[in-house]
Amino acid sequence: MPAGWEPYVSALVAGLGVGGVYALVAMGYNLVFRATGVFNLAQGQLLSYGALIGFTLWVSHGTPLLLALLAVTAAVAALGFVQERITVAPLARAGTNSMAWVITTLGASVVLENIAQLAWGGDQHPVPPLADLAAWRIGGATVQPANMIILVTALAAAAALTAVTRYTRAGKTWSATAEDAEAARVRGINTRRVGAVSFAVAAALSGFAGFVVAPVTGASFDMGSSLTLAGFVAIAVGGFGSAGGALAGGLIIGVVDSEAVLMLSSAWKDVVTLLVLLLILGVRPNGLFGTYRERVI
């Protein structure tokens, strides 16, 4: 175990950066799952498209940063929308008991990953920092601006989603569908459209996340698959329901991972994460911010 507080602070900052990515994936899961009852197993692949398209536009073609960011977000949102139309919408008739979506979204992840490999090759493409900032130093600890950018993105996304669900008509429509899809339909809400829009918004988040994470991880066709699981753990820790829960879950898992590697070794990372997950679910079976109802009948 290293001496002094500096390494722990550096690990904390790095953990918040990684955790921000987990949180963005988890927010996507939450958006889609609450509205449609589906886990989009291709969520991580959508993120890799954000990184890869961003690489092409911004690094290869020199598109201005903000324009590239907008284009990436829009493109991945469109990709998510199309994915929902093809892999989820047709299953509406199969009934809520059907688990066919596991196969169709898994198929989508395989297809997306392979198209990415065909288009961008199997290499990892390095992406320079988004902003030309020097690393900050707090005493001996290092704060990488790239990590801070990811963290701020995650915070902003959670705040925006919370505000939208609370204060806008579209957000309330989503909440109503998430709470009770059948009751929402009775009230005249087109829950299928809510599902499709949720997919698009979740994809936009992932695309954006891919763009901002690329300077840390590089852009590669297979960067999404490892995030699939981390997003699962984040949502289980934070609890289904709100963007805030996904944010908290993602950041907690990111920091725990990072500090466990520092204090013990990389071999302990997943084991410590599992213990934290079990501890949290032991105390709160529906995650930190999940809702719990006593009424069972």
Partner: protein, 616 residues
């Protein structure tokens, strides 16, 4: 061996049409022989390996199908348990030089233990939380070998795992394949016996939800642990053979994608047969090979095939296959239900102990809201006690408190003088207090007969081991359930509908069916939660007739109901609740005459003689 075959392959029901039992056994043995000889036909190392892997993954997947498909439990950690079995066997053989056969036994035991430990979250957290946790556990377990790199080989893997020997000769790869295939075959037979026994009904109840299982008198914890254990033993059985294929294993052999492959195979197969996942595994393993000629587009086409296949067959591959096969081979899914006798059902009900239900001073608050305060009443055998009151007055809460689904803040419930408050709801069912629900809690894709059989589960438990082996005792219990359930259906006037799926019945018939199932455990007290809700015309009359017959058999009936005509018609004793307290009690006449009741609930008009006529 012949005796074993007879035990594991119970004869087809005598009454069932279609090929005779002998033909089916011969056909199964022939299929097994052909599959076992496939390596000789294919004759090349690559395909022998592929077949071995398919067989191993199939063992894991049929276990997952038991928990996920049959019982609806998201225990997705099977690959972690598989890895535990593989590593314990590998380490004992390679590092500690155990006899490989002994190491395999130890591996299965370790996998079973791992499965039980990994299932603990499933007893605490429900649904998708368990899914996510168990998936994560599956990927963490293989990584734990990195913590002890000495004996396990750590990240780099463990080599030198020598194959088990027979008479001093290590098994060849084809022999290893036949060993795995034999394990798979035995697993399928055992699961077939298990799911066709009364345990199959318990799994269907669990799939419907804890409330359904508990109202059948079964402990959800016990049923869960039983299926988790079965699935773990199967995952372990696949795991302990796996390291011998290459004599080498590493943590990278058990990634998340393997978990998803096994889950995918289970879903592609569908839960319509115990062998369905084998089809799923074979497809997921073989399709990428078939498209090898497209080389770099292979995985792309595989992904497209997954999407297209699943859109075309959202309920899995085996269900339509099976429907086609049964159309050719045998007309009906199962044998004709036996003809029941209503008199026999009455005789069994009348044998009850005639216990009195006494409720004293029940209190329950939700947050700051007092739902029930100081509610007391008595329900006597051979009487119908009605509990009435406006919506939200605490009727259903009272039922939930009496039947143990809610825990009372204060108060006593006794059954024949024995205090039952604080007991778990399934215990109270075994104390012979049964209930129905506002929304019928039926097994929708099971027949009416099977639904009634589910109500008997708690009262004639079959050891799971006896069910797996298909012992005569397990089959006799099922046959007795079938006969007794047929009697109850005849009693409820549903005899001709015994073979119909519950969700094809009219709402009225579903109510009658739920009452019949509640009676299946020969309860001394029967609680009914708005049984007439949503019934029309003649259906109410049928229900009233059934309830009169239940009363005549000596059961204490507690009826929560809004249909005043039905209540006034049937009840011997009425309890009126108002905002959580007892407003009045007495005979229907007394209650009707009570001015407080008239004001609060029945409406002033109810006291006028003219309305009496309308009521009739």
């Amino acid at each position: 061996m012949a005796a074993l075959t007879r035990t594991l392959l119970p004869r087809a029901r005598r009454a069932g049409p279609g090929p005779s039992a002998g033909v089916r056994e011969v056909a199964l043995v022939a299929v097994f022989a052909v599959v076992a000889l496939l390596p000789l036909i294919a004759g090349d190392r690559f395909w022998t390996r592929k077949l071995f892997v398919i067989a191993v993954m199939s063992i894991v997947a049929v276990g997952l199908n038991l928990v996920l498909g049959y019982a609806g439990e998201y225990a997705l950690g099977q690959v972690g348990i598989f890895a535990a079995g593989a590593y314990v066997t590998g380490v004992l053989t390679a590092t500690y030089h155990w006899n490989a056969w002994l190491a395999m036994l130890a591996g299965v035991a370790a996998a079973a233990l791992t499965g039980l430990v990994a299932s603990v979250p499933g007893l605490r957290v429900g649904g998708w939380y368990f899914a996510l946790t168990s998936l994560f556990i599956a990927t963490v377990i293989p990584q734990t070998v990195r913590l002890a790199p000495g004996p396990t080989g750590g990240e780099l893997g463990l080599a030198g795992i020598d194959r088990p020997q027979i008479a001093g000769h290590p098994l060849s790869t084809p022999a290893l394949y036949i060993l795995v295939l034999a394990v798979l075959g035995l697993a399928l037979l055992g699961l077939r016996n298990l799911t066709r026994s009364t345990w199959g009904l318990a799994f269907a109840c669990l799939r419907r939800g804890d409330v359904c299982l508990r109202s059948a008198g079964m402990s959800p914890v016990r049923v869960r642990l039983t299926i988790y254990l079965f699935a773990a033993v199967l995952a372990g059985a696949g795991g302990v053979v796996y390291p011998f294929l290459d004599g080498f294993i590493s943590p990278d052999a058990f990634p998340l994608s393997l978990s998803i492959l096994i889950i995918g195979a289970t879903i592609i197969g569908g839960s319509d047969a115990v062998w369905a996942p084998v089809v799923g595994v074979a497809i997921l393993q073989l399709v990428p090979e078939l498209s090898d000629r497209f080389d770099k587009y292979a995985l792309l086409i595989y992904g497209l095939a997954l999407v297209a296949g699943s859109l075309l067959l959202p309920r899995g591959l085996v269900a339509p296959l099976r429907r086609a096969a049964s159309a050719v081979l045998r007309p009906a899914r199962s044998a004709e239900p036996p003809a029941g006798s209503a008199d026999a059902a009455v005789a069994r009900l009348a044998r009850g102990d005639g216990a009195i239900l006494e409720v004293r001073g029940l209190n329950k608050a939700f947050g700051g809201l007092r739902a029930v305060s100081d509610v007391s009443f008595t329900a006597r055998p051979g009487q119908i006690t009605a509990v009435i009151g406006a919506n939200g007055c605490g009727k259903t809460t009272t039922l939930n408190l009496v039947s143990g689904f809610y825990r009372a803040d204060a108060g006593h419930v006794s059954l024949g003088g024995t205090a039952v408050e604080g007991r778990a709801p399934h215990r109270i069912v075994r104390d012979r207090l049964a209930r129905t629900f506002q929304t019928p809690m039926l097994l929708t894709d099971r027949t009416a007969l099977e639904n009634v059989m589910a109500g008997m589960l708690a009262h004639a438990p079959v050891p799971a081991a006896a069910a797996v082996l298909g012992l005569p005792s397990a089959r006799r219990t099922r046959e007795r359930f079938r006969r007794d359930a047929a009697d109850l259906l005849a009693f409820a006037g549903l005899g001709p509908l015994a073979g119909q799926d519950a969700d094809t019945l009219s709402p009225g018939r579903q109510r009658l069916l739920e009452v019949a199932r509640a009676l299946a455990g020969s309860p001394s007290v029967l609680l009914l939660d708005e049984p007439a809700a949503g019934l029309v015309g003649a259906e109410v009359g049928e229900l009233a007739g059934l309830l009169r017959a239940v009363r005549a058999a000596g059961v204490a009936v507690v009826l929560v109901e809004h249909n005043m005509r039905l209540v006034m018609d049937l009840a011997d004793h009425v309890v009126v609740l108002d905002t959580g307290t007892v407003l009045a009690t007495g005979t229907p006449g007394e209650v009707r005459a009570d001015p407080a009741v008239a004001r609060s609930y029945l409406g002033a008009a109810a006291t006028r003689p003219a309305t009496r006529k309308e009521d009739r």
